[in-house]
């Protein structure tokens, strides 16, 4: 497809608290192409929001700490640029829609002012001009511009989310990060907002990372999907790869947990157990404990030389459980699971 807009390489983020270290994001890789909408799917605490916040550099530091990795946005590493430069990117080239429209808006400023403020900060234009642009933005998201001077509490939830979207799109960003944009809304309002986001995206050509736990929403508006589990991307690919050829047992389990409208079965097939505690992540494959396909093949060890203090005798090499690597099982379809190996993937591709 077209060129890459954002590339995340080996990103790892930890939260250091007094009592423990929380491994929130563990060496993830992700690429977003121009104009593409990618869905980041996973359960609460999987690390989805931390990924989005790292891109915008709005992680609370401390306790958060970026351990390693690069986030290349238009070939600049946003993790390395100065704060002044970052401020030019944030809200201008990369914008974010937050989950809860009730708390994302300033209650003591009019909605029009809040949109105009964003425009004015990033463009050298007059107050009148920014005012006019803000009116246009309101109209674009389906709010009459007469409501420019209304305060957030005068709007309903769905309308507030439209205002937040208008604010995010005000500077015509290249990349939009939408963190559960419709979770707080009713279904009929959700349908309106999704429809609007879809048409705006097509009109403006914005790329989008959509964070959600709702696979139905993903099916509606995403081009590709990354499934996040315990701080790792366990599977990523196009929407066809994930919905028609789900390969990681966790992805398969997620689909099994959903009550399907057309199914007649009387029992759901949930994933057993719980998400691992991110302070004590299991060594090796993180999904092993809950995996219905787990076998002896999934526990693998590699010898590792232990750290050697100067002056001491070298200890025997330790056996360390290793985690599965990301394997490309079809072009653009990556899975982190021991079920797949480079050999079988290549054989399958040759067979195709």
């Amino acid at each position: 497809m077209s060129e890459t807009l954002l590339e995340i390489k080996n990103l790892a983020v930890e939260y250091h608290t007094d009592s423990a270290i929380i491994y929130a994001v563990n060496n993830i890789n992700l690429t977003v192409k121009k104009g593409e909408t990618i869905g980041l799917v996973g359960e609460t605490g999987a690390g989805k929001t931390t990924i989005a916040r790292s891109i915008l550099r709005i992680l609370p530091i401390p306790p958060a700490k970026v351990i390693s990795g690069e986030i290349l946005f238009e070939d600049t590493d946003v993790l390395k640029v100065s704060e002044a430069q970052m401020r030019k990117i944030r809200g201008n080239k990369i914008a974010m829609i937050f989950q809860d429209p009730m708390t994302a808006l300033n209650p003591i400023e009019t909605v029009g002012f809040q949109i105009a403020e964003t425009i004015k900060i990033h463009n050298k234009i007059s107050r009148v001009e920014s005012h006019k642009r803000a009116c246009d933005m309101l109209e674009m998201v389906g709010i009459p511009m007469e409501r420019f001077s209304d305060y957030p509490h005068q709007f309903s939830g769905g309308m507030k989310q439209r205002v937040v979207i208008a604010m995010a799109l005000a500077c015509n960003p290249e990349l939009l990060l939408a963190d559960e944009p419709t979770t707080a809304l009713d279904v009929t309002i959700q349908a309106q907002v999704l429809e609007m986001m879809q048409s705006l995206k097509e009109k403006l050509g914005t790329s989008m990372i959509l964070i959600t736990h709702d696979l139905g929403v993903v099916a509606d508006i995403c081009d590709s999907v990354a499934v996040v589990y315990a701080g790792e991307i366990v599977e990523r690919g196009t929407i066809e790869h994930i919905f028609d050829h789900a390969s990681h047992p966790y992805t398969v389990g997620l689909f099994g947990s959903l009550p399907a409208l057309e199914s007649t079965e009387r029992r759901l097939s949930p994933i057993k157990g719980l998400m691992p505690d991110p302070t004590y992540l299991p060594k090796g494959c993180r999904f092993y404990e809950r995996c219905p396909d787990a076998s002896d093949n999934c526990v693998r060890f590699a010898a590792q030389e232990p750290a050697q203090a100067p002056g001491e005798l070298a200890a025997a090499p330790e056996e360390i459980a290793i985690a599965p690597e990301e394997i490309e099982i079809a072009p653009g379809h990556f899975v982190k699971c021991f079920k797949y190996s480079k050999k079988t993937a290549e054989a399958a591709r040759e067979g195709e």
């Binding site: 099916a219 009550p259 994933i271």
Partner: protein
């Protein structure tokens, strides 16, 4: 046989600064033993108020509630105490519905203590059995709610509701605060319990795919009124009311094939304060006309399938 629960023309109004808020406005329901009635609607449609009014957590403004054929609309304090053994509720938010200073066993034991008549050791034994029933390991007996995840907390809520062996449970959005993989575990647990104990559920939710899965009958509410009620499969196969149609088409389906065209509603839910006598959906309805501003009656379109729309025949013949 008399149905387990019968509600006739139940109304619950709240007085507000702007006038009377019609939260529940003339609802009729019957529910038999071992069955599930799904109540769906958007936020503010009165579905939670309905559940709470039935349980007398709120006093009804008008109407009748019959439980096992007996009128319980205005019970005495003593009767109410007895009634609550048979009618229980599972709340939506397992984070705020548990007392943070009560351990798991104390929380589950509380209803037994209030009922009285059991020795301390019997109660503890009963509590442990309940924990096994809902699938909380006994090692959590002395844990406090903040140490547990949402799924386990909701299991405590279920254990509390079950402790007095009720016949009827109002489930007020019991799974909407949970992640999908945990949600499926809790739904399966609730279905198992229903089979074992012949429980009747009133399942209040906004999640239509969950409700279809768990319910025998589904009632759709809009601004305090019932707009359509039918057996679950019938409602999805033969949807009659324009609001139900829009609601069903708005569900995002987790499949990338056979996408149907959405019916997009314009506008948002109107205010339930001092509503006009006609159809309450009229402002958003694509088929609205003059006659919709008159009082709507509930019609039985098919056996067991009720709809409150004067134009349903016309609308459904045209498609």
């Amino acid at each position: 046989m008399a149905p387990l629960l019968e509600i006739r023309n139940l109304k619950k109004y709240f007085k507000t600064g702007g006038g009377m808020l019609h939260a529940v406005d003339g609802i009729n329901v019957t529910l038999s033993e071992g069955k599930t009635l799904g109540v769906v609607g958007e936020s503010g449609c009165g579905k939670s108020t309905l559940g709470r009014t039935i349980l007398h957590l709120l006093d009804a403004t008008d109407g009748q509630i019959l439980f096992e054929g007996k009128d319980i609309t205005n019970p005495s304090k003593k009767e109410l105490h007895k009634l609550r053994e048979n009618m229980q509720i599972i709340f939506q938010d397992p984070f705020s519905s548990l007392n943070p200073r009560m351990s798991v066993s104390a929380a589950i034991m509380e209803p037994l203590m209030l009922k009285g008549g059991l020795s301390k050791s019997d109660m503890l034994e009963e509590t442990r059995l309940l924990m096994d029933t809902v699938g909380i390991a006994r090692r959590f007996e002395n844990a406090y709610p903040h140490e547990l995840d949402g799924g386990r907390r909701q299991r405590i809520g279920i254990a509390r509701a079950l402790s007095l062996k009720p016949k009827f449970i109002v489930c007020d959005e019991p799974v909407s605060a949970l992640d999908v993989s945990i949600q499926a575990q809790i739904i399966n647990l609730m279905l198992d319990l229903q089979e074992e104990r012949g429980l009747a559920y009133m399942f209040v939710t906004h999640d239509l795919s969950v409700v279809k899965y768990i319910s025998d009958d589904i009632m759709v509410m809009y601004l305090g009124q019932m707009v359509e009620k039918a057996p679950a499969d019938e409602l999805f196969r033969n949807t009659l009311h324009p609001y139900t149609k829009a609601l069903l088409s708005a569900i995002p389906i987790p499949s990338i094939h056979n996408k149907t065209k959405r019916i997009l509603l314009t506008g948002e839910i109107t205010s339930p304060v001092n509503p006009k006598p006609g159809c309450r959906f009229v402002a958003r309805c694509p088929y609205a006309s003059e006659e919709c501003h008159e009082l709507q009656t509930l019609e039985e379109a098919e056996p067991g399938h009720f709809v409150s729309c004067c134009k349903y025949k016309e609308i459904n013949n045209n498609i």
